[in-house]
Amino acid sequence: MTNSVLVAVDGSDGGARALQYATERAKLGGAKLIVTYVIEWSPYSFNTPEENAERHKRREEEIDRATSGVVEPAAAQLAAAGIEYETVVRHGPPAETLIKLAEKFGVQQIVIGRRGQSGIKNLLFGSVAGNLVQTSPVPVVVVP
């Protein structure tokens, strides 16, 4: 098994810190980074007919935005630092999708940033980090 780490980015400061942390680790240990952007999406939501008709178009736009806005700059940064990497942009429920990808790539670790959202929001929606820590098959590093 190769030495690899999955790092989640989402364009936020937390994501940037996670990438920063993972980059430093990779430099030290020579690990390969799997840079992942999960676009929050559920197959079980309710849509209007119009939203459905435009879904394919929206999906492409979302992927484009994530790729060119966040993933590609991150990749450029890694390339400049001489770190081996792969990129993935994927729709799905965040924690579950990260775990699936971690299994698929056989990574040793998942690195994510903390969003630091308020208590009530956590109560209602749960936190990605919290869910991930509870269910991940590999160690999770939550970068504050």
Partner: protein, 500 residues
């Protein structure tokens, strides 16, 4: 803009007494038109003393044919439909497209409407308890018709230059017939259908819904809204206006999210009421079966009950009308036939589950107290049946009816729009004109009485069944071929199951 609306509302209030008779005027104008359109579409032949509208016969024969021709796909495909909706066959490597679940939920939101609450009451009033039996049979057969429609809807949809998709009977008729070397005929049928769905969108998907929502509100308000249909109509039209023209998608989105829960809420309480009428259940079920074959007390006897049952079922689940295939066409799948399987569940949920539950609420109440509803009909009758057991229920029911009506109107505004853009192109100006017409009819729906409304809506909706089902006959071999090929690949394990 806001000030304009405030002024307008104030003006309407002051003008109120002067225009209290406005509704009557509208009624006088529409009633003769309704009966003329109705007698044209529902041209009747005499069968064993019952007047059988040819168009109903046309639908029944179609549904029976598709059921047999596709080897009872409504039974054999049921399990697979549930697997698809559950996402067992969704490719985990390409998420983010419209899922089977979403397509089904959207289409069901469009069909679960006032028909499920009020239409059933109408069926029982005219066709007796036996109409319920035929309603269920029609729902069962209608599953096969939907299968054909929705498979074709996906197969022959059009991808627009902007990346969105348009589909539905007008597209499958044009392209399907073209493939069979009958391009001219296909174009004619497509255009005919597009005109029909546009007009139908103003009836079944619009006036009937707003009318019944108003009736239910008025019942809850204890008749205090009598003669104020135009006001409620204007308010409803304003909300629809905000959504479809103002682009306030959040209203539509919220409705779409609440409707499924309202449907579950409605079913749970309906089952509670049925159980509260516990001692009447055997007699009510007995009446449904005996009424179905004897038609006691119904004009035209058993055939009369059958006609009413089928008519109301189609009105509720829209199988044969082709509307659902417009909604389903949005799904991006390499296998159009999977959308057919998923759509089987629509008439099942709509008619076999929800309509039957409503029928039992009314049926058990009738057994316990034949005069429970007085001379109320439609939604008011269903509401009275609930009120007998749960005094406060008419209020949430009115709210639910309003939401059902609203979500159906939003869905149908889209169906009608697709007919309109098929005819006049995707231009923005044209779309706005269509939407204004649509809003005007929402208001009109509250101003006229149920009778003429139901006649016009029925007539228009059944009229588009004619070209649609004719098209389905011609294109059914394509669906059958796809279905057989898909099933073979499924059996061989070539269609990968990702499972849970």
């Amino acid at each position: 803009m806001m000030r304009f609306f405030t002024a307008l509302t104030a003006m309407l209030f002051f003008a109120l007494p002067a225009y209290a008779g406005f509704d009557d005027t509208i009624n006088e104008i529409t009633a003769p038109i309704a009966s003329a359109v109705g007698s044209f579409v529902f041209f009747k032949i005499n069968v064993f003393g019952a007047a059988l509208p040819l168009v109903v016969l046309w639908l029944v024969i179609g549904a029976v044919f598709f059921t047999v021709y596709l080897g009872f796909v409504n039974v054999s495909g049921f399990k697979h439909a549930i697997q698809l909706v559950r996402g067992d066959y969704a490719d985990p490597d390409s998420p983010g497209e419209v899922s089977h679940f979403q397509a089904l939920a959207t289409a069901v939101s469009g069909t679960v409407g006032i028909g499920n609450i009020g239409g059933v009451a109408v069926a029982v009033t005219i066709g007796g308890a036996g109409a319920t039996f035929w309603l269920i049979v029609a729902g069962f057969l209608g599953m096969s018709t939907k299968f054909v429609e929705c498979t074709l809807g996906v197969k022959y949809r059009q991808e627009n230059p902007d990346g969105s998709v348009s589909g539905g009977p007008m597209y499958y008729m044009r392209k399907g017939f073209e493939e069979r070397g009958m391009g001219g005929f296909g174009k004619f049928m497509g255009t005919f259908y597009a005109i029909g769905i546009f007009i139908g969108a103003l009836g079944i998907g619009n006036m009937f819904q707003s009318n019944q929502a108003y009736v239910q509100l008025n019942t809850v308000a204890g008749g205090r809204l009598d003669g104020l249909g135009w006001l409620i109509g204007l308010i409803l039209a304003a909300v629809v206006f905000m959504v479809i023209i103002g682009g306030i998608k959040s209203i539509a989105r919220v409705t779409e999210k609440i409707v499924p829960f309202m449907a579950i809420f409605y079913c749970v309480f309906a089952i509670i009421v049925i159980l509260m009428n516990f001692s009447s259940i055997p007699a009510a079920i007995g009446n449904i079966f005996s009424g179905a074959f004897t038609g006691a007390g119904v004009q035209g006897g058993a055939i009369g009950a059958l006609i009413i049952g089928f008519q109301r079922a189609v009105f509720s689940n829209e199988a044969g009308i082709g509307s659902a295939s417009i909604a389903h066409a949005a799904v991006k799948t390499p296998e159009p036939v999977t959308e057919g399987y998923v759509s089987l569940l629509e008439p099942f949920i709509d008619t076999i589950v929800i309509c039957t539950i409503t029928a039992l609420v009314i049926g058990t109440s009738q057994v316990a107290d034949p005069n429970f509803a007085g001379d109320a009909t439609g939604v008011a009758m269903t509401s009275a049946a609930f009120e007998r057991q749960i005094g406060w229920f008419p209020l949430p029911l009115a709210f639910g009816a309003l939401l059902f009506a609203f979500s159906t109107m939003i869905s149908w505004s889209y169906y009608g729009l697709k007919g309109w853009t098929y005819l006049f192109g995707e231009g923005q100006m044209g779309q706005t004109i269509y939407k204004l017409i649509f809003c005007a009819f929402v208001a009109l729906g509250c101003m006229v009485q149920l009778g003429p409304i139901l006649d016009i809506s029925d007539a228009l909706v059944f009229l588009i069944c004619v070209p649609n089902i004719l098209g389905l006959y011609f294109l059914a071999p394509i669906v059958r071929r796809e279905m057989i090929s898909y099933k073979e690949r499924l059996d061989r394990g070539e269609i990968k199951k990702y499972s849970h």
